[in-house]
């Protein structure tokens, strides 16, 4: 029997408030609490709560036949704790069913896997700890921020003890191969790779309510038909998407909830596919070959690369400035600095600086607090400047302390 694997990303960044250059040195409160709270509560109402409820009901109805997986970022968990604890409770109820796998990632949903192995490991450990604390589960499967993956990143993840990793079934990596198999890392043989079937995933996540789409409206019968049309020897269909698909990107009025309420039942009844979690698939299937990914890929845009976050000069300058502070941060014990440091690492800040689509906007605009990528850049750089001032002051102070102790 073949498998279907649903995976949902749950993430909200700490968005930065309007921070002017003349605030540097005086104002150390960077984040727009009002905005972030409003967004969390709104998404809770439109997406997290209703969809969690729907999944819970499906699990109650179908029992062991229905399973899904989540990755919830540290940033999201913290904000749920502060602004919408009922959301965390509903995720806990899902955890308690035993039908849901929770994945590990970087605590801050950051891009640090690209440049610092030590900081990468630290953030992953931090995330694992948080998941254990909140949900009582140990994470064995990894997915990196926005499914960013490369051979090097895979190797680092394997070294941390993970057995399975999720990434994008990018065409330029697969070539003629299909994403519907289990693959493995070329030299870290313990790491199995599951690839997103972007065509079928995006049908739900992006195209579902688009009346311009040739296949609109998407019915469960049609979708099941497409699943069944996949070549019989292909073993798994990985449907990976942003959780906000359900109620935010695709509004309730589009029928997305009704679709998801019925689809699992139809698939189970049909009998050709079972629902499995990534760690189950890692055990159930045999890897069909190695997968070579020399340059990082992701699940973003048409390019499926890093250009959404690190494609232009401004993003590079900001990223470099951020990373230049890693050595100092490794020695930093200040709680507030560490908390702010994590929040500033979130990939979204770089996303907002993207200049790829001046005409479009679309998905990238979603919850983007900035009117232009340039404003996003200036705002972030101003904040980083103030952070650097604080960090330097701390480093100076602790040097003095060390000196005086040595005396």
């Amino acid at each position: 029997m073949r498998s279907i694997s649903f995976y949902f990303q749950v993430h909200q960044p700490y968005r930065i408030k309007k921070y002017r250059f003349f605030n540097m040195g005086n104002d150390h409160h960077y984040f727009d609490e009002y905005l972030n709270k409003t967004i969390i509560q709104r998404v809770a109402e439109k997406n997290y709560l209703p969809m969690n409820q729907l999944l819970l009901e499906l699990i109650q109805k179908h029992g062991k036949d229905f399973k899904v997986s989540f990755s919830i970022t540290g940033m999201a968990i913290e904000q749920f704790e502060q602004y919408a604890p009922e959301v965390l409770d509903s995720f806990k109820r899902l955890a308690d069913t035993g039908n849901v796998e929770f994945l590990a990632e970087t605590y801050a949903h950051s891009l640090v896997s690209l440049n610092d192995a030590g900081e990468f490991k630290r953030q992953v450990k931090m995330h694992q700890k948080k998941i254990k604390e909140v949900f009582g589960v140990k994470t064995v499967t990894f997915r990196n921020t926005e499914l960013v993956y490369s051979d090097d990143i895979g190797a680092a993840v394997a070294d941390m003890g993970f057995k399975t990793m999720l990434t994008e079934g990018a065409k330029h990596i697969l070539g003629w191969k299909s994403p519907n198999y289990l693959y493995k890392h070329p030299y870290k043989k313990t790491l199995k790779l599951l690839l997103k079937n972007f065509s079928l995933s995006d049908d739900i996540a992006f195209r579902f309510s688009s009346q311009d789409w040739g296949e609109w409206p998407l019915t469960t019968d049609k979708y099941l038909h497409w699943l069944k049309q996949i070549k019989p020897e292909e073993e798994v269909v990985n449907l990976y998407m942003d959780y906000e698909t359900f109620g935010e990107h695709q509004w309730a009025e589009s029928g997305i909830f009704d679709f998801m309420r019925v689809l699992p039942g139809k698939i189970i009844e049909d009998g050709e596919f079972t629902f499995n979690t990534p760690s189950e698939l890692s055990k159930k299937l045999k890897p069909v070959s190695d997968l070579h990914v020399p340059n990082p890929i992701s699940w973003a845009d048409e390019e499926r690369d890093l250009s959404a976050w690190l494609g232009n000069e401004m993003q590079d300058e900001a990223f470099e400035k951020l990373n230049s502070m890693i050595p100092q941060m490794q020695k930093c014990k200040d709680k507030q600095l560490n908390a702010d440091w994590l929040k500033l690492q979130t990939s979204d800040h770089f996303y907002y600086m993207c200049t790829k689509w001046f005409a479009d906007g679309d998905v990238h605009e979603y919850f983007n607090p900035y009117a232009s990528p340039f404003e996003a850049f200036i705002n972030y750089m101003n904040v980083l400047s103030d952070f650097k001032i604080r960090l330097d002051a701390y480093s100076q102070k602790s040097k003095k302390k060390v000196k005086s102790i040595k005396k």
Binding site: R20, F21, E313, F358, F374, I378
Partner: protein
């Protein structure tokens, strides 16, 4: 296609954007095989006539005995009462006024001196009189020349355009480069000028504003029927960048304002933003290049804020001095309160200077790599300037991509659109 075009200034004898835009537009149209007769009140002889035939309004004899001209004069009804000229009004109103004031048309004729009139070509005390005489010039030209359509640039030429329209029966296109409403602000408009603008637009078969911002003003403040108002954005001529050997003499960064020191251009916001920046970073100098009625008030404010040692007033710059100014600048700012288009930021970008412009400008509609702020938002303005001065990647991006954008804003594209509009208008 032959076009009879009325302008007021033509390079190199210009005081603002009108002449530059007229020139660029005519060159663009000529590339699309449009023949143009360009009339100016005063030609100096050194204008570029390679592409376009320039007709000197001062050289055009007006035969006041000519019946048609007389009839037109009657219809036109420019009455000079004392030193005030009344703008275009209905024939009925004219009759009424004419009776009221007991003046006859014959008496009016006495005021006109001679067959040819030497226009000053400037914006002097008897501007309204010149505008009226230009109308007669327009009427005469319409009798003599052969053309398919008339195109008049800004209120100064509208009467001439109307004259040509009435004499020849050909359609009239009026171009709105700037409105009195923008120049003076709500409640402070010069009603003579406002009424001339309105009359010209009402008489015209087609109105071309240089931006959507201006289009909205035309529709909402002047009450012109939206279906005949079509925006065509201005463009900019590419220039050969000469190697002006300019070395910056000061170690500080330079932030520049270039424009008239008057209400419309928002110079006071530039001063306030400068203060905010100098409080955090004194390694900057601010330059105000221009002249105008607000000069003294600005100088006083700068002194009051105690930033006079970092502030420089250069007076009006033109020609090569403008290019030199750009070469010395690190950031260019245009905080205009209401700018129908705004060619100067394009000139800055062409000279590799990143720009900060007000959202209340037409040029903001066509640019991506320009930092756009509300003119009153001094915090954002200062933040943008500071960012451009301190974050290299931002200014590099703006300089590089801005140059590309400006190179694509070709007059040929605007001219293409206008040619199509001409064709549509002729077909109606």
């Amino acid at each position: 296609m032959k076009v009879l075009m009325f302008g007021w200034e033509f390079p190199p004898h210009i005081t603002g954007g009108l002449g530059t835009a007229s020139y660029g537009l005519t060159k663009g149209l000529v590339k699309h095989d449009v023949d143009i007769i360009f009339v100016v009140p005063k030609a100096y002889g050194d204008e570029d006539q390679r592409a376009v035939r320039i007709v000197n309004g001062s050289d055009v004899p007006v035969n006041y005995k000519n019946k048609e001209i007389q009839e037109f004069w009657n219809k036109l009804t420019y009455l000079e009462i004392g030193s005030n000229i009344m703008p275009y009004i209905d024939p009925e109103d004219f009759e009424k006024l004419h009776e009221d004031h007991g003046k006859t048309v014959k008496e009016k004729e006495h005021i006109i001196l001679g067959e040819k009139y030497s226009f000053s070509g400037k914006y002097g005390k008897n501007l309204m009189e010149e505008v009226a005489r230009y109308a007669l010039v327009g009427a005469s030209i319409a009798q003599q020349y052969d053309f398919d359509i008339i195109h008049a640039h800004d209120w100064l030429t509208y009467s001439a355009g109307i004259a040509a329209q009435q004499i020849s029966g050909k359609p009239l296109v009026v171009h709105m480069h700037a409105t009195e409403y923008d120049r003076s602000g709500e409640g402070r408009v010069n009603s003579e000028v406002f009424n001339l603008e309105q009359a010209g637009m009402r008489q015209a078969d087609l109105v071309i504003p240089v931006s959507d911002l201006t289009r909205n003003t035309v529709i909402n403040k002047y009450g012109i029927d939206a279906s005949k108002v079509v925006t065509v954005h201005n463009a900019i001529e590419p220039v050969e960048q000469e190697d002006l050997n300019i070395k910056k003499s000061v170690k500080e960064k330079v932030v520049t304002f270039l424009g008239r020191l008057t209400f419309q251009k928002g110079p006071e916001y530039f001063v306030e933003a400068a203060k905010k920046i100098l409080e955090k970073d004194d390694n900057v100098r601010f330059v105000m290049a221009g002249n105008g009625d607000m000069m003294n008030q600005l100088i006083r404010r700068v002194a009051e804020l105690k930033i006079a040692d970092k502030f420089h007033f250069t007076g009006f710059l033109k020609g090569e001095d403008v290019d030199k100014m750009f070469l010395l600048s690190d950031v260019f700012v245009m905080p205009s309160v209401s700018e129908p288009f705004g060619l100067v930021p394009l000139e800055a970008m062409r000279s590799n200077v990143p720009v900060v412009i007000s959202k209340q400008s037409g040029v903001a509609e066509v640019l991506n790599h320009a930092f756009k702020v509300d003119f009153w938002d001094i915090d954002s303005m200062a933040d943008a300037i500071y960012g451009l001065l301190h974050y290299k990647s931002l200014s590099n991006t703006f300089i590089r991509e801005g140059k590309k954008e400006v190179e694509n804003l070709k007059w040929e594209h605007a001219a293409q659109k206008i040619k199509e509009l001409y064709a549509q208008t002729l077909n109606q």
